[in-house]
């Protein structure tokens, strides 16, 4: 009789994830047992406290470099750094999600089951309190992301992918207004996301097949085995390449890289804006965290095989994002294409074959997350009687009506355009420098050229806001409640600080750039 051996589990190292998942379960119980009028406050507090507690645990674990729970989870520098980033950005996103003064009842629908555009629907849009299920859903998603960036084998990674994707699909469908658009976005995201997950799973299977037959090791999909197999496996490399390609498709879909980006504009536009901000910031961190780990740990030995292919994807992503951003007339779609282009810049960092590339990418993720959340925070504030006024023509003359918020948004746009003294510039440098150092000059040149194109749409918005005369229909900026103000100010200040004094965060990222195997 074989003895079943339980893997040793380092609960302290796993604490951040456990806290988030636990809080999500608590959130479900709150839905069941707490009176409706208290739920919003209780849920928001539970979610925020959980994020804080998890963040505390990440900080306490900062020196951990270990693999636990039977090789499924790696708690190392990049994992901890990215978990910390996800938690900080998620806290900001939660502030936006919890805002209820900008729009009566919040940004979410009161009853998702009410038929869109019906009389009941109009009534709920007028000010019924929004769903509070969004908090446990968000918390589940955060928990999944925390596992995703720490997953040390492909199956764990797949499960984490599903854990954070499914709540996101739901969250996208819960907009209070323009619900058909929101539901369409959710369905699109779900369908395409399901395909991407399938590709990922198929890729896992092929890689498993590839690992069979290497000396002294059973087949498996943990990264150490895959890493060994890349050099030692007697199997046909076609298996490896096909598996790698399918895995990459699954991950690049989440990262919104071309040609797997087509969902991004529709979903970003249709989803409730706080959720869009959450996706743009946190999903990006999670997706690129996983990309970094898969390609720097598992497939490191095949670097010369995947770099050209991923390089082409990066160039294509930058081009598609930059060129299509020029033609956009809706601010949310514009930010979506901008986020696609930024995915391209991040890929440049991923492809830099050195640890500076890893730290640069991580720095970029944090900097971009802060800026993009602040940008979407402003978007939630510019509204008229029908909700957010996202068409760009409506933003004309906003600088005259609300100079303060227009100035903040201008600053964020300048950061996106990469003007120095903003985090946009330092983060571009942080990924382009290592890439050029690693001999990827063509990627850097493509990045610089697309930055020129991308500057134009940002500038057009600035021109709209400051140099155009306010029209009759220029909306006013709603005075934000405390939560949105806090998120907005954190985002703007971080954008400034990371641009002026990036050294501390760079130090942190450099110290956390080594993966454990």
């Amino acid at each position: 009789m074989t003895e079943l051996k339980l893997p040793s589990i380092d609960y302290a190292a796993l604490a951040p994830t456990l806290i988030m998942l636990g809080a999500a379960l608590v959130g479900v119980l709150v839905e069941a047992f707490v009176p409706r009028r208290l739920r919003h406050v209780v849920q928001l507090s539970v979610a925020l406290l959980a994020v804080l507690a998890a963040l505390t645990m990440v900080v306490l674990n900062a020196d951990d470099r270990l693999i636990t729970i039977g090789g499924a989870i790696a708690v190392d520098g990049p994992a901890l750094f990215l978990q910390g980033a996800i938690l900080v950005l998620a806290a900001m996103a939660l502030l936006l999600i919890g805002e209820r003064t900008v729009e009566r009842g919040g940004a979410f629908v009161a009853q998702a089951a009410v038929t869109a555009e019906s009389a009941d629907d109009r009534r709920q849009a007028e000010g019924a309190n929004g769903l509070t299920e969004v908090y446990p859903l968000t918390t589940f998603a955060i928990g999944g992301m925390l596992i995703f960036v720490a997953a040390n084998d492909l199956l764990t990674m797949f499960i984490a992918l599903e854990v954070f994707s499914l709540p996101l699909y739901l969250l996208c469908a819960l907009a209070r207004r323009r619900r058909l658009l929101s539901q369409e976005a959710a369905l699109k995201y779900f369908m395409l996301g399901a395909y991407a997950s399938a590709f990922f799973l198929f890729g896992v299977a092929l890689v498993y097949g590839f690992t069979a037959g290497i000396p002294d090791r059973p087949a498996g999909v943990d990264f150490a085995t895959v890493h060994a197999a890349v050099t030692d496996s007697p199997a046909s490399p076609v298996l490896l390449f096909a598996g790698m390609a399918l895995l990459a498709i699954g991950l690049l879909f989440k990262a919104a890289a071309a040609p797997f980006h087509v969902w991004t504009p529709d979903v970003y536009q249709g989803a409730p804006t706080p959720v869009t901000g959450f996706m743009a910031a946190c999903t990006k961190v999670a997706a690129f965290g996983a990309l970094l780990r898969v390609f720097h740990v598992a497939f490191e030995g095949a670097r010369w095989d995947f770099t050209p292919v991923l390089g082409v994807v990066a160039v294509l992503t930058m081009l598609v994002g930059a060129v299509l951003a020029v033609t956009q007339t809706d601010i949310k779609r514009l930010l979506a294409y901008s986020s696609i282009a930024n995915a391209g810049y991040l890929l440049v960092g991923v492809l830099a074959p050195n640890s500076e590339g890893v730290s640069g990418t991580m720095f970029y993720l944090v900097a971009y997350g802060f800026s993009v959340l602040a940008a979407f925070a402003v978007v939630t504030l510019v509204r008229d009687a029908d909700g957010e006024a996202t068409h760009l023509s409506r933003w004309a003359g906003l600088g005259r009506r609300s100079p303060f918020y227009a100035a903040l948004f201008t600053f964020i746009l300048l950061a996106f355009a990469g003007i120095p003294l903003t985090s946009g510039f330092t983060s571009k440098f942080a990924v382009f420098g290592p890439a050029l150092d690693g001999g990827q000059a063509w990627l850097v040149i493509a990045g610089v050229l697309t930055s020129m194109v991308l500057a134009f749409p940002y500038l057009r918005v600035v021109v709209m806001m400051w140099l155009s005369e306010p029209g009759e229909s220029t909306p006013t900026v709603t005075v934000p409640g405390g939560l949105t103000s806090a998120a907005l100010m954190i985002g703007v200040i971080a954008t400034l600080v990371l641009g002026v004094a990036p050294a501390p965060l760079l130090d942190l990222a450099t110290g956390a750039a080594e993966f454990v195997r």
């Binding site: 005259r400 300048l414 355009a417 990469g418 003007i419 120095p420 003294l421 510039f425 330092t426 571009k428 440098f429 382009f432 420098g433 050029l436 150092d437 000059a441 850097v444 040149i445 610089v448 050229l449 930055s451 020129m452 500057a455 134009f456 500038l459 057009r460 021109v463 400051w466 140099l467 155009s468 005369e469 004094a501 990036p502 050294a503 760079l506 130090d507 450099t510």
Partner: protein, 538 residues
């Protein structure tokens, strides 16, 4: 006193001033103007002290300071000035207070360009007639205008004072932002188009430079220190690409043909004061950058590219001058003359003789004074008439004789009449070029003739000849220069004449720096002695 951190204080001081001015209440515009003027005078005073402290014949780089900024990338706040930077810093410090004084009413009253209500110091009327072609918008913040001017001064000083390539790049790019808003929010006709064009052109150039900066950082061993980088050996191919990245940025900034099309638009749309700073100082960053970065860091590539650069310079001289002759808009005309002058500066730099390069640097200063004056005077004229079109003038000298006289003087300085400062620089460029490359010098000389054509014809059509009857009906044209405006033009005229006869103080400062630059690229020849220069002046 030489231990005093002049350069960092000089850079930061205008920024502090800008914050103070921006925070002043909107309804106290006069206070904002006075504070801004006082602050810029303070900067001028400090610069004068710095000028006096400068040790002529001392080290190439003086006032060096260095503080760590981003140690991960080897970035430092390193400031240091060589002679070329020092004279440019002085030019900024002199021009900014004058521009502030000249722009006293530019932001008032709503319309972006100066209104026709300037009735003397202290008068703050806002009842001027609406002006054709300029949108009458309201509620533009006066303190913000002057705050932006001070922010611009901070970035301009920073860009010349930086001795760290990263720091230089930061100032180079950030400089765009205040200028963009000065043109876009306070400019005249077509300001939106001009502001965006200006921003995009400069940003594109800047991004080429960013690629080159990163490349230089990688091949230079992860440092941005200018001194360290100037000693790095770079392979030929890489060096050419890096040179090209920097050169493109500077050629767009300067601007050289064929990257010049943004300047007439920006110069034409910017308020006169901002336009004076734009061509007087901002564009010099391009030529300064070539001297400070392109030549010493990539000497071999510079020599390889020199024929092309000379060709661009020559085309610029002739082409821009021809276009200037055909302009009907005063500010656009002055912008085109600047492009022609930048052609001269480019030729002077890439002739690779100390004489020509000294001439080019001197030209940078003199052009700042002469064209700055021309822009300010033209601005005063336009403010009175309410139109920038030459055909709307005619015989203005009969109404405003002093203004017409100053315009004539500024025009003569701009065409490099002997006795004015630009003559010496143009002459030095031409003889310095002639000794090594006769055809280039001969073709460039044609530019002088064209300069006479565009300046004199412009002066003739605006201030001479029969009086345009429409002019007498315009209120503004009944007022000649008031005290404030005289205070603006007098120092510039004095400097132009002084440097026209006695350029020694300036040439003494720039000569060692120019010679060092020439040594960096491996060319040595005797520097022009002061005797030479003074002969030239006679």
């Amino acid at each position: 006193m030489s231990d005093f951190p002049f350069l960092s204080v000089l850079t930061v001081a205008p920024l502090v001033g800008a914050l103070v001015v921006a925070l002043l209440p909107r309804h106290r515009p006069e206070l904002a103007k006075q504070v801004a003027l006082g602050w810029s005078l303070l900067v001028l005073a400090l610069s004068v002290v710095m000028w006096v402290t400068w040790q002529t014949g001392g080290e190439r780089f003086q006032f060096r300071e260095s503080y760590p900024w981003i140690p991960n990338w080897g970035v430092n706040f390193t400031f240091a000035a060589d002679g070329i930077a020092l004279v440019m810093l002085m030019l900024i410090a002199v021009l900014v207070p004058l521009v502030i004084l000249a722009s006293w009413h530019d932001a008032d009253g709503g319309s972006g360009a100066p209104t026709a209500t300037d009735r003397g110091a202290g008068a703050d009327r806002q009842d001027g007639p609406a002006r054709a072609g300029i949108p009458a918008t309201s509620k533009r913040s006066v303190p913000m205008y002057f705050a932006l001017l001070l922010v611009l001064e901070c970035t301009m000083i920073g860009v010349f004072a930086a001795a760290d390539v990263f720091l230089f790049y930061v100032f180079f790019e950030v400089m765009l932002v205040p200028m963009y808003f000065l043109i876009g929010s306070y400019g005249g006709h077509q300001r939106q188009y001009a502001a965006v064009k200006f921003f995009l052109y400069s940003l594109v150039g800047g991004l080429f430079m960013l690629a080159a900066v990163i490349g230089l950082w990688v091949v230079g061993g992860k440092t941005f220190d200018w001194v360290a980088l100037s000693q790095v050996d770079i392979s030929t191919g890489t060096e050419r690409w890096l040179f090209l990245g920097f050169f493109l940025a500077f050629a767009i900034k300067a601007p050289f043909f064929p990257f010049h099309t943004w300047l007439p638009d920006a110069g034409g749309a910017a308020p006169a004061g901002a336009a004076a700073l734009l061509v007087g100082v901002l564009d010099k960053v391009g030529t300064f950058g070539i001297l400070r970065y392109c030549l010493p860091l990539f000497p071999d590539a510079a020599k390889w590219f020199a024929p092309w650069a000379l060709a661009l310079g020559l085309i610029g001289i002739i082409y821009a001058a021809l276009l200037a002759v055909g302009q009907n808009d005063l500010k656009r005309l002055v912008s085109y003359t600047s492009i022609a002058h930048f052609g001269f500066i480019g030729v002077g730099i890439f002739a690779f003789t100390s004489q020509a390069a000294t001439g080019a640097v001197l030209y940078m200063v003199n052009h700042g004074l002469a064209t700055g004056l021309l822009f300010l005077v033209v601005g005063m004229l336009i403010a009175r008439r309410g139109s920038a079109l030459i055909s709307d003038f005619g015989g203005a000298g009969k109404l405003v004789p002093v203004l017409a006289g100053v315009l004539f003087f500024a025009g003569l300085a701009s065409l490099a009449l002997p006795g004015t400062a630009p003559f010496i620089s143009e002459f030095l460029v031409l003889i310095g070029t002639f000794t090594v490359n006769k055809p280039v010098a001969v073709i460039a000389t044609l530019g002088i003739i064209l300069a006479a054509a565009y300046v004199l014809w412009m002066v003739q059509r605006t201030t001479q000849g029969t009086l345009n009857p429409a002019l007498t009906e315009v209120d503004g044209m009944k007022r000649d220069l008031n005290l404030r405006e005289k205070v603006v033009v007098a120092p510039l005229i004095a400097l132009i004449v002084l440097l026209g006869f006695y350029p020694k103080p300036v040439t003494d400062v720039i000569n060692p720096a120019v010679q060092a630059t020439m040594q960096d690229i491996g060319r040595t020849d005797p520097a022009p002695s002061v005797g030479n220069v003074q002969e030239a002046a006679k």
